[in-house]
Symmetry: none
Subunit: 208 residues, 4 copies
DNA sequence: AATGAATGAGAATTCATTCAT
DNA sequence: AATGAATGAATTCTCATTCAT
C-alpha cells in the first residue's frame, strides 16, 4: 500500500482505516461483478462512506484498483518471505510445490476479488496491464527460487519456466468454479501438472 | 451465425453480408479493447454501417457476442472434423498433440477477437458464461478423443483431463503476447507440458 | 374513407383491401397499447404487410390514424342516418335516448381502438385535435336532433347541451373497464344521468 | 412527495428544492404536450437542472409522474380535509356541491399538468393505471360523504354514485378548453347535471 | 408493387468526477 | 474532513421514414 496510487497520504488512523474499508469494498465488488461493472458509488456504499470521501483518497477509479493490487503485492511478498526458508534449496520438488501452491491457494480463497485481478478475467485492458506487473513480480520470485536451487540454470530459462508455471497456476485458479473439478482434485492435478513439467527442468538430481 | 441470437433472419443477401461485417467488426474491436469498452457505435462504424442496421439484426450488444461465439463454435467444429481421422486412435501422443494444437494455434492467429472470447480475458461475467459453453463443447470433444483411444478410461476422468488440458491451452494462448516467450517456444513448451501430463494418463502403452 | 389522408388513391381491389387491413391492424394495436406505443412496424406486422407497403399508402404514422378516424366518422354517419327516423321528433325522451345510446354502445363494443380515439385517452395532442373534429361532428348532429324536436331552442344552447351530452357519454365509455360498474349498470346510469339533465331542457312537454 | 417514488431521500435542503422544481417542470410540460412527448431532458431543462440531477432522485421517467401524482394526492387530501366540516351532513345538496366543486375547479386552474394526469388524457396506459389509483381515492372519499349523509345507503351504491360523479366531473374538466362552453357556464352546467342526478339518490328529504 | 434493409436523429439512463455545504 | 448533490458526456437502443432490390 505504498502511496503511489493515493491522492494524499493519510496522517491519522481514521484515514488509514477508511482506505482499508474502501479497498475491502472494492475487492468484494470486483470479485462479484468484475471490474467494469464495479462503480465507484457501489464501492463507497459498501464501504459505508460518501462518494466524496472516496475521492478524497483516490484520484479516480483506476487508482482504487492500483491500491488493491499494491496491497495484494505486499501480501504476496509476505507469503514469499514466509515460504522462503533455507531448506527450500534442497527440498524435493513435490515438497517444494506443496510449500508454494498450498499457501497461494489458501490466500486466494480468503481474498474476495483477488482472483479477478490476479487471473485477470473480467478486468479491462488497463487493469490487465497493472495486473501483469504483479504477475511478473511473482514470476521473478519463482525464477529466483529455481535459480537458487540450480545455479547453473540459464536465467532466461528460469524466467521462462516460472512464467509458464505461474500461468498454469492461474489457469487452475480460473478453473476453481468448475463443476468437473472439486477443489482437492484441482490442487492435486495442478501439482501433478507442474511436477511432471518441472521435474526434468529444475528437479534436483540424486547426488547433486 | 445460426439464427438463435438474431432478432430477425435476413431474407436478402444484403442482410447476410451485413451480419458478417458486423461480427467481423465486433471481433476486431473486442480483440482490441475488450468487451466492456466495446461500443455498439464503434462496431457499427468499423462495419461501415449505421447503428440502426446493427439493431435490425441484433437485439442488443450481448447478442452480437453471442453471434460471434456461435460463429467460432462452428469454426471449431469444422476444425475438429478435419482433425478427426481414423488414425487418431493409434497415433503416438506427441503426434496427436501436434495434430490438435497446431491448427488451434493457427486458428487463433487468424481470428482477431477469438482469444479475448475464448480465453475469456476482458469479458464481462455474462460473456464469460457464454464463453464457458464454447469451452465445454471443445472439452467434451477432447474427452471424446481420449475415450476413443482408451476405451477403458473412466468418462469422468476423461472429461477432467480434457478440461485441464484445455485450460492449459488457454493459459498459453493468454501468454501469447508475453515478451518472455516467443511464439515457437510457447508452442513447444505447451506441447511439453501437455505431453508430460497426459502421457501417463492417456498415452498408448506399447503392445496395446 | 375519403382520400384526404391517403398518399395515393388505390385503383384496384387489392390496394383497398390492404388499406382496410392496415386500418384494422392500427385500430387493434391502438386499442391495446395506445397511440404513442403503437409503432408503424407493429401495424405492418399485424396487417401482414411489409413496412414499405404501408408507406405506399400512408405518408406517415399520423395519416393512418386520420384514416382510421375518417372511417369511424363514416360509420358514425351511417349510425346516425339509421337512427334518424321521422318519429324521432315526437318520441319521449327516454325512448330517444335508447335509440341513440344503445347503437353507440354496441358500436364501441365492436370496434377495437374506437374508444381510445373517440374518448381520446392515450392519444397524443395531435391526435386529440383530429379526434375533436369527429366529436364535434357528432355533437352537431345531436344538436340537430334537439333543434328538430324543439324548434324554439336557441342553437347555441342546443350545441351546448349536445356537447355536454356527448362529453358525458364519453366519460361513461371511459368507465367501461371499471370493476365498480358492470356494463348494464353503466348503460342504465348513463341514461339516467342524461335523462334527468336533458328532460327539463329538451323534453317534450305534454300538449306540445 | 413521499419517498416511495424516489431513488434516494434527499438529505439536504438543496435536494428537496430540486425535487420540487423537477416536479413543477414535469407538470408544466405534461400539461403542454402530454406524457409521451414529455422528455426527461425537457423536464431537466425546464427545471434548470442537469439531466443527471433528475436521475439522482428519480429512477426513471415514470417515477417522476408517480411523484407528481403523489403530490396531487396529498393536495387533494388537504382539499378534502378543508371541505369536510360537520355541517356537511345536513347541508342541502346544492350547497354541498358548491362546497366540493368550487375548490376542485379552482385547484385545477392553479395546477398546470393536473388536468392531464387527473383526467387521464394524453397519458400512456402505465400512467393511466397510476391515475386510476388517485381517482379511486377521491371516489372513495366522495362515497364517504354520501354515506355519512345517508347512513342507510348501500356502500356499493355509494361507491357507484361517487365513481360516476367523479367521472362526470372529469368529463367537464376535459371540456374546459372548449369554445362552446365558457368557464362559468361549464361550472353551472356541471352542478346542474350532478344535482339532478344525485338529488333522488342522496338528497336529504325534508323531515329526515 | 412489394419487400425488407438502411438510416440516423433522438430518447432514456448511467456513472466518473467535481463542487457546494 | 465529510457529505451528498450537481454535472454532462457517453452509451444503449428505438422507430419513423427512405431506399435498394
Amino acid at each position: 500500500m505504498s502511496s503511489s496510487s493515493l491522492r494524499r497520504v493519510p496522517q491519522q488512523g481514521r484515514g488509514t482505516r477508511r482506505i482499508a474499508q474502501i479497498l475491502d469494498a472494492a475487492a468484494e465488488i470486483i470479485g462479484e461483478v468484475g471490474y467494469d461493472a464495479t462503480t465507484t458509488s457501489l464501492i463507497a456504499a459498501r464501504a459505508h462512506t460518501a462518494i466524496g470521501s472516496l475521492y478524497q483518497f483516490f484520484p479516480n477509479k483506476e487508482a482504487i484498483v492500483q491500491g488493491l493490487l499494491e496491497r495484494y503485492r505486499a501480501d504476496l511478498r509476505d507469503l514469499h518471505s514466509k515460504v522462503l526458508t533455507p531448506d527450500l534449496l534442497t527440498l524435493p520438488l513435490p515438497t517444494l510445490l506443496d510449500r508454494i501452491i498450498d499457501p497461494l491457494m489458501d490466500f486466494e480463497m480468503g481474498q474476495r476479488g483477488f482472483k479477478a485481478l490476479f487471473v485477470g478475467v473480467h478486468a479491462s485492458p488497463e487493469i490487465a496491464q497493472a495486473t501483469r506487473a504483479m504477475t511478473d513480480e511473482v514470476a521473478r520470485r519463482f525464477a529466483g527460487i529455481f535459480t537458487e536451487r540450480l545455479p547453473a540454470l540459464d536465467p532466461t530459462l528460469a524466467l521462462r519456466y516460472s512464467t509458464i508455471t505461474l500461468s498454469i497456476v492461474k489457469a487452475f485458479l480460473g478453473l476453481a468454479a468448475s463443476p468437473v473439478l472439486p477443489r482437492e482434485v484441482l490442487v492435486t492435478e495442478l501439482k501433478t501438472v507442474l511436477l511432471r513439467y518441472l521435474e526434468p527442468l529444475v528437479g534436483l538430481r540424486a547426488g547433486e
